[in-house]
């Protein structure tokens, strides 16, 4: 009976929704139910965006031995508010030669598309807005709209830098979508479902204290890493932030955006990052399930957001450390490393499925991934003779 309050806490939002929906006539209930979900998503994730901007700036600051923003509000937490006011009061500059309609539409489309992806994300037990049978497919489909939005922005700005940025973005996003989808295919194979709710549910069991997360298998770990690398590229985050490349092409496709439209681009980008991290969590990190069986009393939605924040922290950490790749290297990496690795992960997931439980399948799967990794890594570096050098000295 001790479980009851815990379960209640876990399902508090679900119950809240049911309670609210109960007040409307039965005919309107589906509509109201979806509306409530939509409102929750629209309120929650932008708030998370605001929080993340502070977190990012403070985290980066600490990595660079600075404080980061700490003047507005306690610990600088109200900084996004100030930023928002600033971007709202800024002049909205539209280039005279720009295609005004498309220029206006692009940020809206980006944000809208980013929001759509949240429909299938289970942020807690029974907490997905829609349980689509082809949830993962739907996710990637609406994710691809972001590419269109980015290209619209780059093209309509009528700026050479923007155009270069848009070209880079298209090439990069399309290339990295392949390993992204391939690496998630392994999970789909293992789970036997395209539904995100189903996949998350599959991972909610435990052997001893260990959960049944896909990341805790050799192919799952490799797949997760590949997925996250591809996700970084998909969301144009450092070290794959070439489309923005402020030191090369000056913010790329959004060079010509200012004020609130610029803020919308930012919002869209971060929403994309959350969504894709959320998908990564759902596919590999067990979604909303607790990492140890004895921690299941903590509500599922807390676990989901804890994992999300952890992934965001990793994104920030990478941004604070790594320089940017070059376009051709980015492409090389996608097609000569990511793609074969993702295929191998898929094969390895199949092998894992059909080998009997035991040490053997661990070894086989590990070798299947580790050996090509070393070889491909070598090929990538040695092919261009890249490595540390020794230097001579004159007295």
């Amino acid at each position: 009976m001790t479980q009851a309050p815990v379960q209640q806490l876990d399902q508090i939002f679900v119950m809240l929704k049911h309670w609210l929906v109960g007040y409307v006539p039965a005919a309107a209930q589906p509509v109201v139910s979806s509306l409530l979900s939509v409102v929750a998503i629209l309120a929650l994730f932008p708030a998370l965006f605001a929080f993340t901007t502070v977190l990012e700036r403070k985290g980066l600051g600490r990595m660079q031995n600075r404080y980061g923003p700490n003047r507005v509000g306690p610990f600088g937490l109200l900084q996004p508010l100030a930023d928002g006011i600033k971007s709202l009061t800024k002049e909205d500059v539209v280039p005279r030669t720009a295609d005004k309609a498309v220029h206006f539409m692009a940020p809206l489309l980006l944000v809208a598309a980013s929001f759509l992806a949240y429909a299938v994300l289970p942020v807690g037990r029974n907490m997905a807005a829609v349980n689509l049978d082809a949830g993962v497919l739907y996710f990637f489909a609406v994710g691809a709209v972001a590419e269109l939005a980015v290209f619209m922005a780059g093209w309509s700005s009528h700026n050479k830098y923007s155009l270069l940025g848009a070209m880079r973005a298209i090439a990069q996003m399309i290339s990295y979508e392949v390993p992204l989808i391939l690496s998630s295919l392994a999970v789909i194979m293992a789970a036997g479902s395209l539904s995100t709710v189903e996949i998350a549910g599959r991972q909610a069991g435990y052997s001893g204290i260990w959960p049944h997360w896909y990341v805790l298998t050799p192919w799952g770990l490799a797949g997760f890493l590949l997925f996250m690398i591809a996700a970084t590229a998909e969301t144009n985050r450092s070290p794959f932030d070439l489309p923005e490349g402020e030191s090369e092409i000056i913010a790329g496709y959004y060079t010509e955006y200012s004020g609130f439209k610029f803020a919308l681009f930012f919002l869209g980008e971060y929403l994309g990052m959350f969504a894709i991290s959320g998908l990564g969590i759902t596919l590999f990190l067990g979604g909303w399930s607790a990492p140890f069986s004895f921690l299941t009393w903590i509500p599922s939605w807390i676990w989901f957001f804890a994992k999300l924040l952890a992934l965001i922290a990793v994104f920030i950490w990478m941004r604070g450390t790594l320089p940017r790749l070059r376009m051709d290297q980015l492409m090389n990496f996608a097609w000569k490393f990511m793609l074969p690795m993702a295929l191998l992960v898929m094969v390895s997931a199949g092998v894992w499925r059909f080998l009997p439980h035991g040490v053997l399948r661990w070894i086989v799967c590990f070798v299947m991934i580790a050996v090509p990794y070393v070889l491909l890594g070598r090929g990538l570096l040695q092919g261009k003779k890249i490595g540390k050098r020794t230097y001579r000295f004159a007295e």
């Binding site: 270069l164 490349g245 261009k384």
Partner: protein
């Protein structure tokens, strides 16, 4: 010469290829995040490949030379601070050296030691920040730059406590230096010299082995030794191309013959070599600092017979040069016997190192251009004068 030939060949190739579609003409700069100030490159792109690049500068031109010709020998010193505003100490020294040659002024021993110490500290902070800027151009969101600035801050504090200013030191005079340094100051300098290698280790840990950095820099912007010499490239850039030419060894100006240090040389002449040469040079500079701080004698700091105000060197001319952090910094002075130089000419290493920018960038893409430019190490205050 050979580079000019390649340039012509490339242009012919371009026309022969019958390019489909348009070439993109981009004006990179003068307001561009990685042009290190107001510098412009007129770039012609085929896709993202550079087919032509013309550097355009002069936006910061203030006719430094004319100003100095109208001012007295003393009054030109604060203006030299503002040439390469990261290394005012070495700029001062270059000018002081030229005047000393022109007027035959001796420099006391202690002053020479202080000059070496301040110049090597300048080299440390310049190279550290340059690497930070280079990584910034590569998109490393400022982290290496911030680490470099953390260390640079200590050196600038040291400069401030000695000279009163952090960057515009206005410290050296012909015949010596302006104020003496205390024993506490030397101790603080010693602390920096002993803690700097640790910072360099951290810096290398963060950067040197990084695959992305290696991929971005190795084989990029390669410069042959032959072209480097012919185009008058100096400093770390020349040595990265494998030419052993360090004025501290060649001219042995000041008292550099008293210190043992090595000159690192690269073999490829690409951006990675330039980056590594600077790192290695910093380690050698620390060695010089340690030796100079251990051996500094007591004594006067300025030649007592020299008149600072109203110096009138005999009619004649002199060319003095030193190994600045960016390359050979030369000052050419002609005196007509009056109190101000008849001709005052700066040989700015930043500007002359830009001569080969186009040769290094042709056939590479936009992302490489900013990295190559970053590795040249320019400061617009010096390029434009």
């Amino acid at each position: 010469m050979s580079a000019m030939v390649t340039r012509v060949v490339l242009e012919e190739e371009e026309s022969a290829r019958g390019v489909e579609g348009e070439l993109l003409e981009i004006s990179m700069g003068p307001h561009h995040p990685s042009t290190h100030g107001v510098f412009r490159m007129d770039v012609r792109l085929d896709g993202e490949r550079v087919t032509r690049l013309k550097p355009v500068f002069g936006y910061l031109h203030r006719n430094h030379e004319k100003i100095a010709e109208k001012a007295s020998y003393l009054a030109a010193i604060p203006y030299t601070d503002r040439l390469d505003y990261l290394c005012s100490m070495t700029n001062n020294w270059g000018y002081a050296l030229a005047v000393e040659k022109l007027a035959g002024i001796p420099v006391p021993e202690r002053a020479e030691y202080i000059r070496v110490i301040t110049a090597e500290l300048t080299r440390l902070q310049n190279h550290a920040s340059l690497i930070g800027f280079l990584l910034q151009d590569m998109g490393a969101s400022g982290t290496p730059l911030m680490y470099a600035f953390r260390e640079r801050e200590k050196i600038l504090d040291l400069f401030e406590s000695l000279t009163g200013a952090r960057m515009m030191c206005n410290y050296m005079r012909f015949g010596g230096v302006r104020v003496d340094c205390s024993s506490e100051w030397l101790e603080a300098a010693q602390n920096i010299a002993s803690s700097f290698p640790q910072f360099l280790d951290e810096y290398e840990q963060l950067l040197t082995g990084n695959e992305i950095l290696m991929a971005r820099t190795q084989g990029v912007g390669a410069l042959s030794a032959e072209l480097a010499v012919n185009a008058g490239i100096t400093g770390p850039m020349l040595r990265a191309s494998g030419v052993n030419y360090d004025l501290r060894k060649v001219d042995r100006y000041g008292i550099y013959d008293r210190f043992t240090f090595r000159v690192p040389l690269g073999d490829h002449g690409d951006v990675y070599d330039r980056y590594m040469i600077r790192l290695l040079e910093m380690r050698e500079s620390v060695k010089i600092l340690e030796q100079a701080l251990a051996a500094i004698p007591e004594g006067p700091i300025i030649d007592p017979k020299t008149r600072l105000r109203g110096l009138r060197p005999k009619a004649g001319e002199a060319y003095g040069r030193i190994e600045g952090p960016k390359g050979e910094l030369g000052f050419f002075l002609i005196s007509d016997g009056s109190t101000n130089p008849y001709r005052y000419k700066v040989r700015p290493p930043s500007m002359i190192n830009l001569t080969v920018l186009e040769d290094m960038c042709l056939g590479r893409n936009v992302a490489d251009v900013v990295v190559i430019l970053g590795s040249v190490d320019i400061v617009m205050g010096e390029v434009d004068r």
